[in-house]
């Protein structure tokens, strides 16, 4: 199954292009984490609002910090947010979705559906604001808000798939030999939803990076360090005075990464969904 998916993905030019873009950005992020790139993001290395030059590729900001260094560091921030949110919300969505689907129409299913319905009813940015308010400026408020809301879509899709898988013969066989429910769910049901989780994870990753930008602008996002969202928020004050460094650097990095991820997510979806490929 995974092998087929990979073969189909490999034959999709756009998907491979997207994958390469994502890999390049991931490489930058790893270099930042291991201390090879972007370490000078907070030091004042020039005058205020220098224009682009050989030493400052995108110029400097209000405080004289190098914008290119900050953009590189922002890549690592984007991946940190994306990875944490994607990992946690996908695991949460997979577990609750699987339980919900396995015990469909039981009380556990009803409770999980109710929680999903409630979370889906609160507009996201307000929910993020409420969580930030309750956690009083905790650095993780943004991550928590995204994880708590993003799992619902994953859970809904997994629930539907588990209800389908449940009726297969091999599940019936596993039940007939008396395996406990949880063992069946973890060993025989969830692994068969892996391809769906992969597609859903790529979609969540895009949403997390996109949302971080908006939340940082609203003052609910990254607290320490620098992110593309903070740079764009900074640029909103500067562009009126004709300083475009922050806007161009953060805007284009963000665009290229999101574009790569969107292409990758699309072709993953095509590669996994055989029905659509046959069409």
């Amino acid at each position: 199954m995974m092998n087929d998916t990979w073969q189909r993905l490999k034959s999709d030019r756009y998907g491979m292009g997207g994958l390469m873009v994502v890999a390049a950005f991931a490489f930058i992020a790893i270099c930042v984490w291991s201390g090879l790139l972007g370490q000078g993001w907070s030091e004042v290395s020039g005058n205020r609002w220098e224009s682009a030059s050989a030493s400052h590729w995108f110029g400097t900001n209000l405080l004289g910090q190098d914008i290119f260094q900050r953009t590189l560091f922002g890549t690592a921030t984007a991946f940190e947010v994306g990875l944490i949110v994607t990992l946690c919300s996908t695991i949460l969505g997979a577990l609750l979705g699987a339980l919900s689907g396995w015990y469909s129409n039981g009380w556990l299913d009803e409770v999980i559906l109710w929680i999903k319905g409630v979370l889906d009813s609160i507009p996201f940015y307000l929910f993020a604001a409420a969580i930030a308010y309750a956690l009083q400026g905790n650095t993780w408020a943004m991550h928590v808000a995204m994880i708590v809301t993003f799992w619902t879509t994953t859970a809904r899709i997994i629930r539907g798939e588990v209800i389908r898988i449940k009726q297969r013969e091999y599940i019936e066989a596993a039940q007939a030999i008396g395996l406990p429910d949880l063992l069946i769910i973890f060993r025989h049901v969830l692994p068969n939803t892996f391809h769906i989780l992969l597609v859903q994870a790529s979609i969540v990753f895009v949403a997390a990076i996109n949302t971080e930008v908006i939340l940082s602008f609203l003052g609910l996002g990254i607290q320490d360090g620098v992110s593309w969202g903070l740079m764009l928020a900074e640029s909103s004050q500067e562009v009126l005075a004709g300083h475009f460094g922050n806007f161009i650097a953060a805007g284009s990095f963000l665009f290229i990464l999101l574009m790569g991820f969107n292409l990758l997510a699309d072709s993953l979806q095509d590669a996994v969904d055989t029905r659509r490929v046959i069409q």
Binding site: I122, Y125, L126, A134, F217, F247, G251, M259, L263
Partner: protein, 316 residues
């Protein structure tokens, strides 16, 4: 639509409303910051502290405080704003029309344009026009809302671009001034929703175009225009209406939050933004609770409309 179905739908909404209000109560009232010492002067006596805590309701048991919050939401008696001292319900009443006037044109245009592009892409599926539209919508989906807003502002509102519209503000008294202030936010909203809308509408239409009866009509020589609007569009009304109903509260709140705080437009979004930055609890808890309740209401009405359009839905 049977009476029992209506009753069932309404009953189903109750746990949702309770859940939404409970979460906003828990986050903002119960776990929210203790406001006692903000309201007291220096060196308060034990009596003063007790008095303020009593006024804030901190000495009440949990369920009673929740019931009190519910009562506030139902009676729209939402207390006074911490920062301005104005009553929250009058703030909301004053600012909501501005937000609707701001967001409505962009919302409508974004959906109509997405519908048209989706129709074209679905009709020419696999042809170059479809590929062009779909590639453009992926590009559109990859641009952040904030980048769109700043970019449009540079292009349309500053001397570095065309300099046609105001940088920020909202002094609306007639149609001309309305158009003057609403154009750039509207364009931003259309751009940010267009990619998602187009993809959604194309997917819905493509499913419908594949149906046998459409192919038959096509073979009989029905004009594309008649086919699309009379048969395809009509049959895909349910998913389209659902999407529109669902997105209204989100676009009004989320869209206005960003647009108004960026352009300094005194609508409900700016009020919320200021409440977020200053920690104005009465405003925040009212906005979160009320939008949640409104959303559940929209959901219920939507389901009832469903069963009017398609009676099979109401069958148990």
């Amino acid at each position: 639509m049977t009476r029992s179905y209506v009753a069932r739908r309404l009953l189903y909404g109750i746990p949702l409303v309770l859940g939404v209000t409970f979460i906003s109560f828990l986050l903002m009232v119960y776990f929210g910051p203790d406001k006692t010492y903000e309201l007291l002067g220096k060196n308060p006596t034990a009596d003063q502290i007790r008095e303020v805590r009593q006024a804030l309701g901190y000495d009440q048991p949990f369920m009673l405080r929740y019931a009190d919050y519910l009562k506030q939401l139902v009676t729209l008696d939402l207390g006074l704003s911490d920062s301005s001292g104005e009553s929250v319900s009058s703030i909301l009443g004053r600012t909501l029309p501005i937000s609707i006037a701001l967001v409505l044109p962009g919302f409508v245009l974004g959906n109509i344009a997405g519908l048209m592009l989706g129709l074209m892409a679905a009709w020419y599926r696999g042809k170059w026009l479809d590929k062009l539209i779909m590639s453009a919508s992926v590009v559109g989906m990859s641009v952040s809302f904030l980048v769109i807003i700043i970019g449009l502002q540079i292009l349309l509102c500053t001397p570095y671009g065309l300099n046609l519209f105001p940088v920020r503000g909202w002094q609306v008294h007639d149609l001309g001034s309305y158009l003057y202030f609403v154009t750039v936010p509207t364009l931003a909203l259309v751009f940010v929703t267009l990619g998602y809308n187009t993809r959604f509408y194309r997917a819905v239409m493509a499913d419908e175009i594949d149906r046998d009866h459409i192919r038959t009509l096509r073979a009989y020589g029905a004009s594309p225009f008649e086919l699309m609007f009379k048969h395809v569009l009509k049959n895909s009304l349910i998913p389209i209406l659902t999407r529109i109903m669902f997105s209204i509260p989100f676009v009004v709140i989320s869209g206005s939050l960003l647009l108004e705080s960026y352009f300094g437009i005194p609508g409900i979004g700016l009020v919320t933004f200021n409440a977020i930055t200053s920690g104005d609890q009465p405003v925040l808890k009212a906005v979160v609770g009320l939008t949640g309740v409104l959303f559940v209401l929209a959901l219920t009405v939507n389901d009832l409309l469903y069963s009017l359009v398609d009676p099979r839905v109401a069958k148990p």
